[in-house]
Amino acid sequence: MNQYILMLHHEPKVFHSDDLGPQQLQEIYNKYRAWRDRLAAEGRVAGGNKLDDTTGRVMRANGDGKVHVTDGPFTEAKEVIGGFFVVKADSYEEAVRIASDCPHLAYGTVEVRLIQV
């Protein structure tokens, strides 16, 4: 089986809304948990983690040979990668199917990539 990375893109502060009270946040959490638990029960979860939103830096080599560093990801991108899951699937289509009911789609986008071995 291949491994695929599901990158979770979303706008920074997507869950920081006054409309989202504790109960709504718990409901959101429950959806993610149910989705992940189901994949785990099927033996499809190979990893995953949350990425820190606050300390990113973007480094870019300038033409003059120096490395240019900017604060990221907020200032550079409208969306950040908030976290990722690594799942096992037989084909890209299957990985896409797994991603297609990821609760994250309600709050951002999910990028599916094959991890080359």
Binding site: F15, D18, D19, G21, P22, Q23, L25, Q26, Y29, G83
Partner: protein, 426 residues
């Protein structure tokens, strides 16, 4: 993945964190307390799906909120000294007596007499009970912006008038407790009698019962009137499930399936009512709880039962003289002594300005005129009742009554529900 997350974990812990941090930081930093509580929950939803639920999720949330607060305070040099206070407080031990005290003291702050009445419950729900603004709006059937406004204004008042987070000791004036009891009563009644979302309403009742329980069991803040209020809530909530049929239509007391009544909760309510008798003062909560107990424990609804209820309402009127009490008493009198007795009582309040838009007054008049054999008057009052605003199940109930002459009309479900303070306090 470890640990199960109980359904109201986020709400509960949010309320605990906000209350305790407000004690440490002072009410003027209520917004900071709310922000870090919220941020801790956001961290949980982002992290837990990857890492699994921590072994003690409450402790994790509280610890995270505490760290966030400390970080923020260290950055604000004027508040840096407070960071150590925060570090010492909020021990991860889930429910220490201190945390209970904090939630109660927070409720006393939210129900401070200087905060407008309509904002007190909203602010309590937001801070102590972890309700979102949207939920509060739906509970009160108001626009979300209006709910947000209420809360913002209340918080501003806390800052401007420098309201304090006070210890719950003997020095706390009696009117502060009155105000909290009234807030709890409103919260419960909103849940019990409003027309909003069913699940949300039941959450409101549960929160009112939980907080009333904390208050009643508190060594210094508790007291007989708190036991009475809790008894009233328990006795009403125990019959909640039986109030509607499978179509959501209201059932009369005599039609309710009593096997659906929550016996354990009724017993608890009766026991609380017993404890409430220890005081020297009879409050409206004592009498309302007694009426609820009469309903919940009666084996049959004969004349003696209704006489006892009518007497309890008469007594209630002496300490809480509102036209709603008279209305309820009239219904009980009619059940005990016939429709004319009830109609005589209703005459006293028929033109009361506070009841101008209260659909249950014409509804009661209609039912009693029918019982007295005057269908024409009855029809007139049914029309009046249906022209006024009421909940959908109540409307269906009234339509059924008005259209079906054979229906045996009776009290409780539409006429003897708890006294709506929103109307009674006009």
């Amino acid at each position: 993945m470890t640990g199960e997350v109980v359904d109201d974990l986020f709400r509960r812990d949010s309320g605990r964190v906000v209350s305790t941090l407000t004690r440490i930081l002072g009410p003027r930093h209520l917004a900071l307390a709310e922000d870090v509580a919220q941020e801790a929950l956001v961290r949980a939803i982002e992290l837990w799906p990857h890492r699994g639920v921590p072994a003690n999720p409450s402790a994790w949330l509280i610890q995270t909120a505490k760290n966030l607060a400390i970080d923020w305070l260290r950055r604000e040099s004027s508040l840096a000294a407070k960071a150590d206070d925060v570090a010492r407080a909020l021990s991860p031990a889930a429910m220490t007596p201190e945390v209970v005290d904090d939630q109660l003291a927070m409720m006393f702050l939210c129900c401070h007499p200087e905060i407008p009445r309509e904002a007190r419950v909203a602010l309590t729900l937001k801070t102590v009970c972890g309700f979102g603004t949207g939920e509060i709006a739906r509970a009160f059937l108001i626009q979300e912006t209006a709910a947000a406004q209420r809360i913002v204004r209340a918080k501003r008042l806390i800052r401007e008038r420098d309201l304090k987070f006070e210890a719950l000791d003997e020095k706390l004036p009696a009117e502060r407790k009155e105000s909290v009891l009234e807030g709890l009563y409103l919260m419960f009644n909103e849940g019990y009698a409003s027309a909003g979302d069913h699940l949300l309403r039941s959450d409101l009742c549960k929160e009112a019962i939980r907080l009333a329980g904390l208050l009643a069991d508190h060594a210094t803040a508790g007291g007989p009137e708190c036991d009475a209020l809790l008894a009233l809530f328990l006795l009403q909530a125990a019959r909640e499930g039986a109030r509607v049929d499978e179509h959501g239509d209201l059932l009369l007391l005599e039609q309710q399936d009593r096997s659906q009544w929550n016996r354990a909760q009724i017993a608890e309510g009766i026991a609380r009512l017993g404890r409430s008798a220890q005081g020297e003062r009879v409050t409206r909560y004592h009498l309302e709880a007694e009426i609820a107990a009469l309903h919940a424990s009666a084996l049959k609804f004969d004349e003696a039962h209704w006489r006892a209820i009518a007497e309890a309402y008469a007594l209630l009127y002496t300490i809480h003289p509102t036209p709603i009490v008279t209305l309820n008493r009239a219904v009980a009198l009619a059940r005990a002594h016939g429709p004319h007795e009830g109609l005589k009582e209703l005459e006293k309040i028929e033109h009361h300005p506070a009841l101008e838009r209260y659909h249950l007054l014409p509804a009661a008049l209609a039912v009693l005129w029918r019982e007295a054999g005057n269908e024409a008057r009855a029809a007139e009052y049914f029309d009046k009742a249906l022209a006024l605003e009421c909940s959908a199940p109540e409307r269906r109930h009234l339509q059924k009554l008005s259209g079906r002459v054979t229906q045996e009309p009776s009290g409780e479900s539409s006429l003897c529900r708890p006294i709506s303070p929103s109307t009674a306090d006009l």
